[in-house]
Symmetry: D2
Subunit: 249 residues, 4 copies
């Protein structure tokens, strides 16, 4: 048996074993999801999200793409993130990379693979940001393992750059951001401790934004503003808006 028949057959066996273990298993799930976790991981077949995290159905919202990237203008991931944070209210958000990642290896190499090349440039940008550290690692395997970690750290930072996360951080129940790396060779999930390590705080002077006030809030649109002198694009208004002023002087 192969192809889709195998999958359908596997599914029947899984349903039977689940029902045998716990006759009310499926009924409980049908009542809705209240996941506490959001998992952003790699599409790699060797990194099954629920297995490696030991989470059961209903516990973890999941997005998986090539090399677990968080791209600023990617509506696919941003939709997942907005829904998970603002509608479902997840409490822990994990970016999970893995050693031996084919996408990371491809980005570190100089071969072209087609359309995916454009996606992988995001990882080359991580190399650029950390070039000094990256190039100093003389062992090939070690350098590639470190790139996997650096990539996870930068993707957690990319989460922290979104207005979705920044606004949620000011709520009563701010979500926690985590960077994890999974080791295919032994199954262990390592916490990079990005939150405690200050990798987000370090960037706040560049990326932090304040939510618009209730009464001039862009997203609850009530017609164009009365005073165009406040608009960006007005050279006169620029200095007042430049939050760098204080630090630079």
């Amino acid at each position: 048996m192969a192809g889709i028949s195998k999958i359908l057959d596997n599914n029947k066996k899984w349903v039977s074993s689940r029902n045998a273990e716990d006759p009310e298993f499926f009924q409980r799930l049908a009542n809705g999801q209240q996941p506490k976790y959001l998992f952003i991981g790699c599409s790699d077949s060797r990194v099954p999200a629920s297995g490696i995290t030991g989470t059961g159905p209903g516990e973890m919202f999941v997005h998986r793409n090539i090399a677990n990237l968080v791209v600023h203008s990617d509506m696919n991931l941003l939709s997942v993130l907005q829904y998970a944070v603002e509608v479902l209210g997840v409490q822990d958000i994990m970016v999970c990379g893995h050693y031996g990642c084919g996408g990371v290896a491809a980005a570190a190499a100089n071969k072209q693979y087609g359309l995916i090349d454009n996606w992988l440039v995001n990882i080359r940008d991580v190399i650029r940001l950390h070039e000094t550290e990256y190039l100093r690692i003389s062992d090939d395997t070690e350098r590639m393992r470190r790139l996997v970690e650096l990539n996870v750290i930068e993707q957690v930072r990319n989460l922290a750059k979104t207005n979705i996360i920044q606004n949620a951080m000011r709520s009563d129940k701010p979500p926690r951001l985590h960077g994890l790396v999974y080791d295919i060779a032994d199954g262990v999930l390592k916490d990079l401790n990005v939150d405690g390590g200050g990798v987000i705080k370090d960037m706040e002077h560049i990326y932090a934004t304040e939510a618009a006030h209730k009464d001039d809030e862009a997203s609850s649109y009530e017609g164009p503003q009365g005073d165009p002198a406040d608009l960006p694009g007005e050279p006169a208004a620029e200095p007042a808006k430049a939050k760098k002023t204080a630090k630079a002087s």
Copy 2:
């Protein structure tokens, strides 16, 4: 124990139990992935990809987003698809929806949720395409279940519209496209039999394209073409290119 500590603890238990069952489990995986399946499913926490398909680590490449959508210009999914088909050579590609999908329900309702609204418009487009059938279903639950199925069917069609799939279909090992629906209430995976049902064939007169010839192939660029009369944008050249001609006359 809660938050990330619980996940890390779960992971330790999982590693132990895996090693107890099969001491060489992880070592085998470290040698690389050769997945035969690509799974495109919903981010919903109640639809764990590997569980419901009974696939183990190494067997299935996975992408999950809100409402298992395949959007033509979504570089996130297209990168997954191109890598899975052209580099990994997966043989079976599944779009897997599920009854009780929150994204589909949100699209069928008229409330706004923020940024995700733009993503969900893709599902409203499915309603438009199948409005006659959709509106004739008087039972609310039945109508919503049918929308989940119609959404899966259209996403399989969206796969078939890509040059990635169309070119792979002409290879020695053409992949198979499947539309599946998972029922949260009983765990069963249903095959919508889209391939046999002609849902792709029906659209070929509109969407089929031919790969460029080796010697004028766009992707292996060798400088601009010599003869601008062949370029699109030349009104004179349009009639010759219009593949509709024969059918229309």
Copy 3:
């Protein structure tokens, strides 16, 4: 003289002639922009936005892409649209196609061009939606001209599907949506009169959404909702949310 030198030289001549005509021309512009128009047109070199609309600097915000497409999940265009509507308060939004469009011709033909194929699928979707009318046009040139118009109409519809436009429509100064076609052969801009023609109204039963209430508004996030029974994904809640109910029964 060629290449960038020619452009820089052209620019000098333009500055001189502008200053000769009106010595305060540039100074006035430096005080900020308050454009009344947003123009969404094709990248085609023969369709210069300001020329064909007779608008001067400061009057029209502009986005141009291949075949003037409005794609639901395209953050590039959505950012332009949100800024133009919510920050600048533009009053007239034009989607402007043009006869002899290379992108439209390429979509109607069956050749592959590479990465752009994925973008052009959006035009093949327009063919699918209007297949009956499209195929009945026996003359090749006429059929292609009609496809250009149908494409514009569907892109105006795509604008009307966004929460940006839907919310602006409920403001004191609702913007107007226009579909235009430019004829390269005689320079004339034709108004397709989409607004009066009901092409947006016709779709409201599928696409209309209501803004979230101030006190539960997703975009001014104040933590996850208290009552998970209201969330989509809850099968129990689906029927109440299905706006189709009334029409279907």
Copy 4:
């Protein structure tokens, strides 16, 4: 007269004046486009592409978005780029920013504007890359003007990171990349001389890729490769592929 009527009226006057000047003007354009330039500029109403470059209809292919950004995974811009370079064979590609850019000012400030915030993060990334230089500029206006220039430089680099440009560079007629800044206050276009300045060369050790060989080329797919040991994702293969090896040791 206002709204769309004014535009249509402007258009009639423009057609008349064009025909008066040159009765065959439109007829020549109808024969097709062979633009030599691609212009990537800002949507700002005060930066009309053809005016400031002195180019007439038929000479310049145009893309305009908020803050003239080149985003790696933006199918909108990538489609424009691929078509312009591979099909039309443009020879000079300009990224054109402008002083007084509202998008750049918004990114340097800390207010939220809604959906566009995600787009603007790309500019905050430019600040991060050039933080040392940026923060040392004490004058507010000067710092903002420099950010406009740095943003243009990074967007030119983003072009150079694409496989589209890298492959075109190896063709008989390699396109030239230019970074320009337009000054709204005096109309002058300044060439940042990015090409001569080495801003692309400086990054080649990170971003350069080689096209796939004809016989194993991903884009002319001929079935999955026979030897999975060549695939990325194989830890064993990583060291051989890491182009960093030589430099690092």
